[in-house]
Symmetry: none
Subunit: 127 residues, 4 copies
DNA sequence: GTGGTCTAGACCACC
DNA sequence: GTGGTCTAGACCACA
């Protein structure tokens, strides 16, 4: 896996797990990859994955069963969504709107930009 | 002044200066507060303000005159706007769109949210 | 069976066996459940039960007969009591006293708490 | 500093900080030693101290100010006490009493044991 | 100066 | 096999 420079790897791994949970690749109650396996797959140090898992555990998204590994907690999906939503509406959007105001961008344009971005993304995936 | 946890303080101070420039509180060619004064007002280490000023200077928004302080450069307004635009389109928007995708928010809703936010803002200002 | 987070599962299983021996549910010379059966009943990996049995065997509380299973050793009751005593006085009490000191709890209060706890326990049993 | 074998070092360091807070050596709102300093003083790896501080931060006992270090949070004293108390009364004491019952120890004896332990401790400190 | 991230690798208890 | 602790040491962003 490739990582961005701007965000700590361990958080990007946590994001990755959350996405898989939202997608349904990792089911609630299901086991997620062991620290070692994931660290090998992602080509990172096991400690880094462990840190990700610790982070997710502290947020109640996964939990561990002694000796057997980490599992997706019940209600994790909803938790991830609500955390993301909260952050989006309370922190990200207001800032976006403020910048738009200051730059004189009209909200109606956003949909256009979105579709342009979407096309670009889709193209990336096909490659 | 209070700072958000998510963005380095020195950048938030730079943002603050830029806003004042766009507003017209700090005019092109005019002097901006000394590092010392601003650091005291913001309850921040002078080095932090210095770093903000250095950042703005490197982007050609302000310049220093030995012995007298920092001044808003000619053309600063235009520069600030273009920097804001760049950041908005290259960094902020893609992230916003990605989150929307993962949360299942449709771009058409954005205009609605914008108007709601706008109303709130206007109300704040009248008080 | 439910396990506390603070103590290894295999020791909690050993505790469980010891309690049964003290109660008389498991008599000296009598057979205790097979590793397989107990592991299923407790919803635990057989290796974990095996480790408990190994631990008890190493302390001379149980012994195995090839092909037939594990049996409570003669003198086991006495042994269990002395082990409990040792642990209580050397490990548990010092910790308790240290915490009391730091919390400012006086030793004289302990008797009061004990009687309150005792009443509660008795009530539970009558239900 | 010397550490017990039975408890992770990072938790023992966290305990150490909590004790200092209860004592008043570290005041609420006051700064605690930097990660580096404490790690040198305790002859442990900085990462270990960092983990302690992370643990305390997650429990709301300390917080960090960017660039300047960790500080005792307001209400930390009370928090530490209440956490300790809760653990003592709900987890430790019931177990102690249960063992006492099973061993036939009378609650009145506890005060005697306590004073014996206390004397021993005092003697250690004078050396 | 502060904390924080990350790696490499050893060693451990537990299931 | 699982997670967890700890070290040594590099390197970084931030104040």
């Amino acid at each position: 896996m490739e990582f961005k420079e701007t965000r700590p790897i361990y958080l990007q791994i946590a994001d990755f797990i959350c996405e898989r949970i939202l997608e349904g690749t990792f089911q609630e109650g299901g086991r997620i990859p062991s620290v070692r396996d994931l660290s090998m797959e992602m080509e990172v140090n096991p400690n880094t994955v462990l840190k990700s898992y610790g982070y997710l555990e502290a947020h109640g998204i996964i939990h561990k069963q002694r000796g057997t590994g980490f599992y997706v907690s019940p209600g994790a999906r909803e938790k991830v969504r609500s955390l993301q939503k909260e952050r989006f509406f309370n922190e990200v959007l207001p800032e976006v709107f403020a910048t738009m105001d200051s730059l004189g961008i009209y909200p109606e344009e956003l949909a256009t930009y979105y579709h342009a971005w979407k096309e670009e993304e889709d193209e990336k995936k096909t490659h």
